[in-house]
Symmetry: C2
């Protein structure tokens, strides 16, 4: 790659934005000028990049014609307000909140549906899927052709960092308060999260599904290109700081060959498969790593066409920041 | 009830055994003499019962002909060694480890398959199922006739108290060590459990299933009387002290009427249903309660024959001690 771009990271002081900046440096992304943007609360802070401290500026004042690519990791409202502005200025956008519909802002996991870019024109608008969908899509991509998937049942156990800096602070605070026998007042989460599991992440609609559950299902279907697949998603908030854990049960059209599935996963870049007997966890394996970890591959107890597995993935890296940066790498290599 | 029995509680100093003793008192179980038994480690301790402190004695020396009913909550090895001895002395047994096969020691949840007792003869040998199976059977019992169940997919998030006193101590210790930045050495669990999720509970067999996962599936099928049902079980150890959380997806033979299912659950004794919008958790609802809490009832996103739900249940009470005592109540009322 000899091209180099001017780039903006919006939400640069957040959990995801900071990691995007780190990854741009680590992966030697061809950046000419890097513009770091946030809200009024953290404008003025500085963030290290390539040995310098870059000043974070306020998004409201930013002129998008200065950059060719923007990562937006600052929530749905910011995405909804600024995406059109960025593209009108000719800037391609990689968005992380999922605020925009599938047809306008397609979901992309380079290893699973990178070829989708061939059908699009610059300035691009792409979405990095919900982290659980990204991790699961990465694992299912090499399996989908041999499995003939009919149904996916997913319980996604989400780390508190999926609620950003405030989610992390709340788990730490509640844990300390409980160990010191002090009363606690939930703020970020609606109930006690320390030493507890919350069955609902965000509000639910009339049919009882959380917005995030619908998002994971639709993102997954678009990335895997399987609109007719039946998907059941239950999101659970768990007292874990970083890393999503996914309990997955797949129904295939015919008996599954577990050894073949294991072999296909072993060949797939970005996946670490843990052998039977052992299993991956977010703390011991996934956190801080680029790879998504898979284990506990096993047929159904009663059904040879069922494949069960477990995924441990860093929601901040491959789940969000890394996947977004990889989309950027694909864009700059072939399309920008 | 005017009958009254001499009763033994084996494992009386453990998490489950202590709760059995409390429930015998709370529920005014007709006990004449109560014999408390444990291993050599805690023999000599005393446990309160009806205002007195009862001395715990060593099981090895116990004469089972002194009692008509024994609760055994001291692990698989104790059950395997003492059940035959107890019954040879004419003592009925309620066992909690699941050490004995289904046909010898049938699984019983009074609300779901209490009528099974009609086919048996004293001295009885009955097993209280794995806690997750007990909670799920209680919830599915009123639904099974209308749903025509085809498949159950269960992710069971188990509290550390499912590993008894040592499990509880380990989570407390690791949490404190981590908050104080001290290194930790896992002992009871094979990896760090604080702020982490473990995808495997106990060893797995050649096909990759944990013993407990098989046990939950077989116990559930026996209690519900649905041998042909397809069941997928994934047990996950979570950093929660008390209470199991179950994420459940059911496939029925025909479209599910959620309002009808809710109504049937509302009528069922022993169940508290939480309305849509809110949801139960182990900490805020289930722990210390006799009821099993159910919430997040919702159809599939893509399949009207799918019903998803969430259960929060005290693994020590209805999951174990309470169900065992309820089996005892049924026995004394009709059969002993
Ligand atoms: N955490 C995850 O696992 C995850 C995963 C996938 C996607 N995402 C998406 O990424 C977004 C950021 O998540 P996060 O975890 O990094 O959150 P976070 O730690 O709370 O950080 C939020 C960032 O957005 C900035 N921001 C907030 N309001 C803004 C505004 N009006 N204008 C400009 N910047 C604004 C914040 O700056 P100030 O301090 O100035 O407000 C901060 O830099 C989320 O909204 C979510 O949609 C998060
Ligand atoms: N915890 C749960 O959620 C749960 C749920 C369902 C079933 N169960 C079953 O119930 C059993 C007890 O569980 P728990 O959680 O109460 O365990 P626990 O807290 O570790 O207590 C174990 C009890 O068993 C006694 N014991 C151990 N070895 C013995 C022996 N050789 N002879 C006589 N007594 C012996 C212990 O006495 P000492 O101190 O003298 O060793 C103690 O009273 C488990 O093994 C399990 O099979 C547990």
């Amino acid at each position: 790659m000899s091209k180099s771009l001017d780039i903006a990271v919006i939400g640069a002081t957040g959990t995801i934005g900071e990691t995007i900046v780190q990854l741009l440096e680590e992966r030697e992304f061809p950046v000419t000028n890097l513009h770091l943007l946030a809200g009024s609360a953290s404008a003025g802070q500085s963030v290290p990049f390539r040995g310098k401290n870059l000043r974070v500026r306020e998004l409201a004042d930013f002129d998008f014609s200065k950059v060719q690519l923007a990562f937006i990791a600052a929530g749905e409202a910011v995405a909804a307000s600024y995406v059109a502005k960025a593209r009108a200025a000719g800037c391609s956008v990689i968005e992380l909140s999922g605020a925009l519909p599938l047809d306008e802002a397609p979901r992309l996991v380079p290893e699973a549906n990178g070829e989708l870019l061939e059908t699009l024109q610059p300035p691009f608008l792409l979405t990095s899927p919900a982290p659980a969908a990204t991790a699961l899509a990465l694992v299912l991509a090499p399996l989908r052709s041999v499995l003939a998937l009919q149904r996916i049942t997913l319980t996604a156990a989400l780390a508190v960092s999926s609620q950003g800096r405030e989610g992390i602070a709340e788990l730490a605070k509640q844990t300390t308060e409980l160990l010191n026998m002090r009363p606690l007042e939930p703020k970020v989460f609606d109930k006690q999260i320390a030493f507890n599991l919350l069955a609902q992440v965000g509000a639910v609609d009339d049919s009882g599904h959380a917005h995030l559950e619908r998002r994971i299902a639709q993102d997954l279907k678009q990335v895997l290109g399987v609109a007719e697949l039946k998907v059941a998603v239950s999101c659970v908030q768990v007292p874990v700081f970083f890393g999503d854990s996914l309990s997955v049960s797949l129904q295939a059209a015919k008996p599954v060959d577990v050894a073949q599935a294991a072999h296909l996963l072993d060949k797939q870049p970005g996946i670490e498969r843990v052998e039977e007997g052992d299993y991956p966890t977010v703390v011991s394996d996934a956190v801080g790593q680029d790879e998504v970890y898979v284990g506990r591959l096993r047929l159904g107890l009663d059904d040879p066409s069922e494949l069960n597995l477990w995924i441990a993935s860093d929601n901040v890296r491959k789940g969000s920041a890394l996947n977004a940066v990889q989309i950027g790498e694909l864009l700059i290599k072939h399309y920008l």
